[in-house]
């Protein structure tokens, strides 16, 4: 049986790995004005979790393809209609929630899994979750060579297209990776607070960053620290994990806001 210290360290390590991936993609989410996407995908994950519970399968394995399909659907519908992104995301958000509620209504017994995914639970952090988080972090590192492309199309899509970037394909890939992040993080942080978890570190970093490279680096730093600290506080104080993470992030956001008002930016502007 694991010692308390081993469980604690596993929880913090898992938090740091998830915080690293989520806050890295968060830099693109925030700068592209796609913050609502995190919310939409989190609720798509709820539909997948509910389907998994109904089918008697591990919810994560059903939520993953379900959420990835939702991400692809959002991109596809944006491309093929003149609807604004928030309208399309809102449609998938509502569809997934409606399906999730119907699926859960067909489950004959109360499901603790549904509550775990809605509000997050550190008790769910096992060795499997640690390995999945590590795999996700490795996948995120593997996408580092794409950073100059994603950053370029984040700034100016037209110039990126002229310079030969296949931005449609790159957008789909980014959305799928964000969807995978959302599903993996959902169990620990909870669907309700997941989009904040994706957005706040990057938004805080934006306040004191004079370059997008610095914004990405700071976002990852804030994400890793706040999730690890939030999980540690949650474990020690027996409080809900997602709420502890988000409150830690809000504190860091307030600190960055104060630095911003003090005229501090990195690298220094002239």
């Amino acid at each position: 049986m694991d010692s308390m210290l081993a469980i604690f360290l596993r929880i913090v390590a898992c938090g740091m790995l998830i915080g690293f991936s989520a806050s890295y993609y968060g830099a693109f989410v925030v700068q592209r004005g796609m913050s609502f996407l995190g919310n939409g995908l989190a609720h798509a994950a709820f539909g997948g979790v509910a389907l998994g519970i109904l089918l008697g399968q591990e919810p994560l394995y059903v939520a993953l393809p379900f959420t990835v399909l939702a991400a692809l659907g959002i991109n596809w519908l944006r491309e093929h209609t003149k609807l604004a992104a928030d309208s399309v995301i809102g449609l998938f958000f509502a569809l997934s929630m409606a399906l999730g509620i119907i699926f859960l209504s067909r489950v004959p017994t109360y499901s603790q899994d549904a509550m775990t995914y809605l509000f997050g639970s550190l008790l769910s952090v096992g060795v499997t979750e640690l390995w999945i988080s590590a795999a996700l972090a490795v996948l995120t590192v593997a996408t580092f060579p794409l950073w100059p492309r994603w950053a370029y199309s984040t700034f100016d899509r037209e110039s990126a297209r002229i310079d030969g970037q296949r931005i449609r394909r790159e957008d789909y890939l980014l959305s799928v990776l964000i969807a995978v992040n959302v599903v993996v993080a959902a169990k620990l942080v909870g669907i309700v607070l997941l989009s904040a978890f994706l957005v706040i570190p990057a938004a805080a970093a934006r306040l004191v960053s004079a370059s997008f490279a610095m914004m990405t680096t700071l976002s990852v730093g804030i994400g890793v620290f706040s999730v690890a600290a939030g999980f540690a506080i949650s474990y020690q104080a027996d409080l809900p994990s997602g709420a502890c993470v988000v409150l830690t992030q809000i504190l860091l956001f307030a600190l960055m806001f104060a630095l911003n008002k003090g005229g501090i930016k990195w690298p220094r502007e002239i």
Partner: protein, 257 residues
């Protein structure tokens, strides 16, 4: 240098460009002029390989736009369409043009190259300035520097006077005139400002979904053609500022009316 033959582009039932043909020699300064919705921007997108064409052909520097290496083209978008909230400096923006990717970090040699391009357009001192702190005219110059840093054969500009004040507009046209005459760069500029087109451009293309006129700017933008395109002759109502005329030296241009 540029040859467009029977170019037709449709958006559903709307025909944006209908059987447009024209040619341009290297070293010329072309204005693409027309009212809103006349197909100017569609033509520009076709030249940049961003718009599928329904029929016809385009040959730019001997290539179709899709096959043309982007390093041979310098593109200056409308400054009003850009995301000023993006955390970046002028230098990073210029380097993005050199690399055709966004830079994570900039080594000294590349930094020096970017600064040289910024000095070329008179804003070397703004190298570290955040994009959000630049005026419209300064940002336009940074984009010009970005395009020129590639040492392009063709410079393409989309409504370059939009979003900048009259002084900055005059400064920008002075730079374009110099780039065209001294560096021999061919310039293609989409504009609704027919007055600037008459004063600064050697050639003009007048569109209203169909080609109304093309050729040397003064005859192409004569009163009869302007009346066909805009519904009135080209009178100078809206422009309080003046334009010098590098292509008609010794023969001052008088706006009609």
């Amino acid at each position: 240098m540029l040859k467009v033959e029977s170019l037709t582009v449709r958006f559903g039932k709307l025909t944006a460009l209908d059987n447009v043909s024209f040619a341009l020699q290297g070293g010329e300064f072309l204005a693409v002029v027309g009212p809103n919705g006349s197909g100017k921007s569609t033509l520009l997108k076709c030249l940049l390989g961003l718009q599928r064409i329904d029929s016809g052909s385009i040959s730019l520097l001997g290539h179709s736009p899709e096959d043309l290496p982007s390093s041979r083209i310098g593109y200056v978008p409308q400054v009003k369409t850009l995301d000023r909230s993006f955390p970046a400096s002028s230098c990073e923006l210029v380097v993005s043009g050199l690399r055709r990717r966004w830079p994570w970090r900039i080594p000294p040699a590349e930094h020096e190259r970017a600064e040289a391009a910024l000095r070329q357009v008179g804003i070397g001192h703004l190298s570290h300035r955040a994009l959000s702190a630049l005026s419209g005219g300064e940002l336009q110059r940074v984009y010009l520097a970005r395009a020129l840093a590639r040492e392009p054969e063709v410079l393409v500009l989309d409504e370059p006077a939009t979003g900048i004040d009259a002084t900055a507009e005059q400064d920008m046209y002075d730079i374009l005139d110099r780039v065209n005459r001294e560096m021999g760069v061919t310039i293609i500029m989409v504009t609704h400002d027919w007055l600037a087109a008459r004063h600064h451009c050697s050639h003009a293309l007048l569109l209203k979904n169909v080609l109304i006129a093309s050729g040397p700017s003064l005859p192409a933008l004569n009163d009869a053609n302007m009346a066909l395109a805009f519904g009135h002759a080209g009178h100078d109502h809206a422009h309080g500022h003046s334009h010098s005329h590098p292509h008609e030296s010794g023969q001052p241009e008088q706006p009609d009316g």
